[in-house]
């Protein structure tokens, strides 16, 4: 009898409490509901909803709110195409400043880079990079644990353990998440129209690189000399392509002795 009473009591009390609390929250929602700007809902529908954070806001909804409330730029989203951005600008009555479409690129071919020691810790690039600067002798060599692939919201990075991740250009929206998680800084955003990359990001003197890696830029300067458009310069011991001048002719690719310059 005692148990029966307890059971009935607890059911009644808990049911009563949840009923009352439910009513309270419904009333509160009615009373305190925040009238959202109708423009915000329209913009939210146009945004991709992938919450990648490339616009520097926490998710698409917050970006939509920021555009309506505090006047954030309509062109910050890198996922939507130009027409959608213009539509959003139209809703807001402001002109959208469009960004140039970019794509992420892994600047390393470093399976050839020499090993300093055998690493058998946590299988994460970040963890591996902390142990005396990574297990590869080159400081800017891909560690191959795929932190970038797991950070990508668009599954645009195909990766297998120990290999250099490959970026699938059709899926990449250049949100820049992989750039932030890569502990060795070998992912960059480059213009989508670019045809030639410098597949290396090492900034050491030439000779040290030759010892460490067979596909590292050792600053011979052949590309600078052969480029007919003078689009290549050496910055910080590394060839750098000025994409506004580059015509994708491919002469530098043929002349690169270490195979660092690659054409698309």
């Amino acid at each position: 009898m005692q148990t029966m009473n307890t059971i009935i009591n607890s059911v009644l009390i808990l049911g009563g409490i949840s009923l009352v609390l439910g009513c309270i929250i419904i009333i509160a929602l009615r009373k305190y509901s925040f009238p959202t700007d109708p423009r915000q809902n329209k913009i939210q529908e146009l945004l991709p909803g992938s919450n990648c954070g490339a616009c520097s806001f926490n998710g698409c909804n917050e970006y939509a709110e920021a555009m309506v409330m505090i006047g954030a730029e309509p062109g910050l989203c890198c996922v939507i195409d130009d027409d959608t951005a213009k539509k959003i600008g139209g809703i807001l009555g402001r002109e959208a400043h469009l960004k140039e479409k970019q794509v992420a690129c892994v600047l390393c071919q470093g399976e050839n880079s020499e090993l300093k020691y055998k690493y058998s810790g946590t299988e994460e690039c970040l963890a591996a990079s902390i142990v005396s600067g990574g297990f590869r002798s080159c400081e800017n060599a891909c560690l191959g644990f795929g932190d970038c692939a797991s950070a990508c919201s668009f599954s645009a990075i195909s990766w297998q353990k120990g290999q250099i991740p490959e970026i699938i250009a059709e899926k990449c929206n250049a949100c820049g998440k992989c750039l932030k998680v890569c502990p060795v800084n070998i992912i960059r955003l480059i213009p989508r129209s670019a045809g030639i990359y410098v597949k290396c990001n090492v900034q050491n003197k030439g000779l040290t690189i030759k010892k460490m890696c067979t596909v590292g830029c050792f600053t011979c300067g052949d590309c600078v000399k052969t480029c007919p458009e003078k689009a290549i310069t050496i910055v910080n011991e590394l060839a750098k392509i000025d994409y506004s001048k580059c015509t994708n002719c491919g002469i530098c690719v043929d002349n690169c002795p270490s195979g660092v310059l690659l054409s698309n």
Binding site: I13, I17, I25
Partner: protein, 195 residues
């Protein structure tokens, strides 16, 4: 527990039984939110306010709803329900009336207000059989202790920003070291008097 006066309950909650450093409750928000001194001061004030009121609510629920029917075993679910509702209401109220506050505390508001400190306070005051005033003072003490711990912690962390720290210890590892040393220091207060 009725023999303790209010002052000793307050001190006990704030320092001797500091919720973060002695009981290790509320560590998630303790470590996560403590970035700048300003933000954590604001957060401390929010915690004090929310914890005190939610503790009062749970005292009333416990003593007038659960105890008379011998339903003390339901306290977990009931406390969770009431605290969740209360925080929802506070968040709604703030969003409507002081929209700037939510923005300045970033997305942390729900994290800082809906943390385990509140639930711990609700349980402890039920366990200690406090009367209403005592439980209010106790929760005030606990939340002040939380604010104190966060502010001390942030001040140390801000200083260490400029110090040359080994790369492997940067960030969270160092934070845990600091927290552990602070906890050791606070254990020195345990000899004062017990609760």
């Amino acid at each position: 527990m009725n023999e303790l006066n209010l002052f000793s309950i307050f001190i006990s909650g704030m320092i001797i039984n500091n919720i973060v450093l002695i009981w290790f409750i509320g560590l998630c928000s303790f470590l996560r939110v403590s970035v700048s001194l300003e933000a954590s001061t604001g957060m401390g004030i929010a915690i004090i306010f929310v914890t005190t009121i939610s503790s009062a609510v749970s005292w009333i629920v416990y003593n007038y709803l659960l105890k008379p029917y011998n339903l003390e075993f339901l306290k977990i679910i009931v406390f969770v329900l009431f605290i969740a509702l209360f925080i929802q209401l506070v968040a709604m109220f703030i969003k409507k009336n002081i929209p700037g506050l939510l923005k300045s505390s970033g997305n942390y508001f729900t994290l800082i207000t809906a943390n385990c400190v509140m639930l711990a306070v609700a349980f402890l005051q039920a366990e200690y059989r406090f009367n209403f005033i005592q439980s209010l003072v106790f929760s005030l003490g606990i939340s002040c202790g939380f604010a104190l711990a966060v502010i001390l912690f942030v001040s140390i962390r801000e200083r260490l920003e400029l110090a040359p720290v080994p790369k492997a210890l940067k960030g969270y590892p160092l934070s845990f070291f600091i927290a552990a040393l602070m906890s050791l220091a606070f254990m020195g207060f345990r000899g004062l008097f017990g609760l």
